[in-house]
Amino acid sequence: MTHKSIPTPDSFTLRIDGTDVVAQVGQSILEVAQDHNIGIPTLCYLEGLTPWGGCRLCLVEIKGSGRLLPACSTLATEDMDVTTTSPRIERYRRTIVELLFSERNHICAVCVSNGNCELQTLAQEMGVTHVHVPYRYPTLLVDSSHDGFRLDHNRCVMCTRCVRVCEEIEGAATKGVGGRGIDSMIINDLNEPWGESDTCTSCGKCVSVCPTGALTEKGTTFADMAKRRERRELLPYLTQTREGRR
């Protein structure tokens, strides 16, 4: 486990946004930043799950590197000089959020996660007032075949948190990704209705980790979703389970 600023044999310093910070060997830039209350936006990242590096919102500048690198999956190293934000990075992040809104049918007003949605919050934090690119309006289905849960592809951002939690923590590997590119979809088993899955344990972890309204409990209201969000913040078992397994 990490300690915020007490030097240990395994610790070293680097600079983030002009400030010297202490990091532990093996920590990612994001972990170090979070330890020091430096905010970097994330979407696909979730503490306790293998970093995915797909949403590109945590891209940061590292002095000497030609490219922006994802903070979630780039190891912090000694004397690294990291800049977490700049007008250019902010512009890129805003565009990425806009691209996500344009990709599927995110209709906040009628979404059960309205007010408790990480995508919505990101848009607000970044000052996204409208989407510059054309909306795709794909025709996507809602899988309500499971007794307790619902999978609404219209709200999915393909962060794969559900896939990772299902495989890495629950060990069921019910969820996966089918297809590729813009046609990628979250699937259950051989792309069958969720309710017919033999492998799903109905543990509900996927629902807990979903950042948007793509995975929800049936019969939930806005208020219930707020509770769900609290519960997600109480998911230290993700980290613990993994630590224990190592």
């Binding site: 209709i107 409208h130 909306y135």
Partner: protein, 188 residues
């Protein structure tokens, strides 16, 4: 425009539920303050038939859903100096865009012909009761306003809170660029 004339405001309601206008009315007595410094020259709440020339600020509610909406948006844009997209339907097509997942024919059939559509007697097979005249033709997809005309400012929300609308109007009247993001969010 000269200093002698008062700023000319307008609001318009396209493909939406009018909720944004309800929120606008929720400004309550602040409406009177606005009316004391500006003229509201066109609005669902004002009895004007033709959108006038030379409007300073127009708040546009609703998505672009029909050919008529396109025509109106274009005319209004050409007669307005500052166009504000008001509410999620204008910004994202929002609830209105839920019909985009279906063809226009299917949408009309659902509304006019299918059992439960309220039409009595039920239409004969192969025959549609969808109006062929007088009602504006639907576009293939409902779209946000800024996909059709240029928009200057955006006011998110479903509906945007009265405070956000008030803030936007007063900032514009004061000659400042409004940034209502501290008061708004998609879907709220």
């Amino acid at each position: 425009m000269t200093n002698a004339t008062r700023p000319r405001l307008a609001t318009i309601w396209l493909d939406g539920c009018s909720g944004c206008h309800m929120s606008l009315l929720d400004m309550d007595e602040r409406l009177i303050d606005i009316a004391s410094v500006a003229d509201i020259v066109f609005s669902p709440t004002v009895d004007t038939k033709e959108f006038p020339e030379n409007v300073d600020v127009t708040l546009m509610e609703g998505a672009i859903g029909s050919d008529e909406d396109v025509e109106k948006a274009r005319k209004i844009r050409s007669r307005t100096k500052i166009l504000v997209s008001m509410g999620d339907c204008a910004l994202t097509a929002n609830v209105v865009s839920m019909r985009n997942l279906f063809t226009v024919e299917d949408v009309l059939a659902r509304a006019y012909d299918e059992p439960g559509s309220g039409n009595v007697p039920e239409p004969r097979p192969g025959e549609s009761r969808a109006p062929k005249r007088y009602v504006p033709k639907l576009q293939t997809k409902a779209r946000p306003v800024h996909e059709v005309v240029e928009v200057d400012y955006f006011l998110p929300g479903c509906p945007p809170p009265a405070d956000a609308i008030h803030y936007t109007i007063t900032e514009l009247l004061a000659g400042r660029a409004p940034d209502p993001s501290h008061l708004t969010r998609f879907g709220r």
